[in-house]
Amino acid sequence: MKESNQRKTGEVAAILMSVWLGIVATTVTHLWSYYNPLQANPILLKMGSWIPSWWAIGPYTGKETAGLVVWLCTWAILHWTLGRKEVNLKPWTIGFTIAFIANLIILWPAVYHTILWWPALPNTLPGGEG
């Protein structure tokens, strides 16, 4: 009981921040792999190659790995830095909620495909391949 009274609200902020950064890491790597597949996909495949059958699952394994690593690493770093301070949780809660929803919106493929471009469909090009 005594020990738990000493816990700082910074720990909560560290968790919110790291969860969001991990989520954003999957979004950013996904957009990168769409924007520049020739550069991104070999790197993502390499990053995902600790997952069994990574070669059959594809660059998705690298995106998962990026999310996992960013989430856990930023959590560890923020827990030992931000987690030792007292913070006002209200702006953190509002910021996290807005940032979380913003990510859900930008990840909706109709949104980022409209901003970037839509992929060529396999049966719409001369020669048949997309």
């Binding site: 720990e11 909560v12 969860v19 059958s53 059959a56 998705y60 809660t93 859900l104 396999p122």
Partner: protein, 187 residues
């Protein structure tokens, strides 16, 4: 005359029947036309179990928010267990993703026949379904660290409830999109 059953009896009946019948949905695949039944059924069962358990977790936030004794500890273990099952279901989803994107698989079929199903629904759900893992672990970890001085109506209990709500929403997005896709094309 007193009623023969209590509100609790009715709630337990509803939960049991809902769980049993919802679990039968992925089991239809056993007598279905899937080419990868084991992967499909296991991933479907995992998705169904985690959605049901996340509903229970969401219900357990209400007594936690009111500051009922023991509610935080109860919610915490449900969250740990559900997060573990979410991890298992993600791994099973990766396994099912192999035949999905393989030659002559549903991805190819959908790109020719109904590209928006792959380009929008699948591309969205494969990422949103990952979010419950950090969200569930975050909420469980906060309960572990702060449950002894968690006050009713505090900002912190609100944040935990927010995380559990997002956990449930993201699981349900994955569940609805997944079921929707299997209605259109089986792996």
């Amino acid at each position: 005359m007193k009623s023969m059953f209590t509100a609790r009896d009715l709630a337990v009946t509803q939960a049991s029947v809902a769980a049993l019948l919802f679990l039968s949905i992925p089991m239809f695949n056993v007598i279905g036309l899937s080419n990868h039944k084991l992967e499909a059924v296991l991933h479907g069962l995992g998705a169904t179990v985690t959605v049901i358990m996340s509903c229970q977790a969401l219900h357990l936030t209400y007594p936690m928010l009111r500051g009922k004794k023991g509610a935080a500890a109860n919610l915490e273990w449900v969250l740990w267990l559900t997060s573990l099952l979410v991890l298992v279901t993600i791994a099973l989803g990766n396994w099912l993703y192999i035949p999905y994107r393989g030659p002559d698989g549903p991805q190819q079929w959908l790109m020719y026949h109904s590209p928006e199903v792959h380009l929008i629904v699948m591309e969205y759900k494969e990422f949103v379904s990952l979010y419950p893992l950090p969200l569930g672990i975050a909420a469980a970890f906060l309960l572990r660290r702060f449950r002894h001085n968690l006050e009713a109506g505090s900002t912190l209990s609100g944040i935990i409830a927010l995380l559990v709500t997002l956990f449930w929403i993201c699981l349900l997005i994955g569940f609805a999109c997944g079921i929707g896709m299997t209605k259109l094309k089986m792996v």
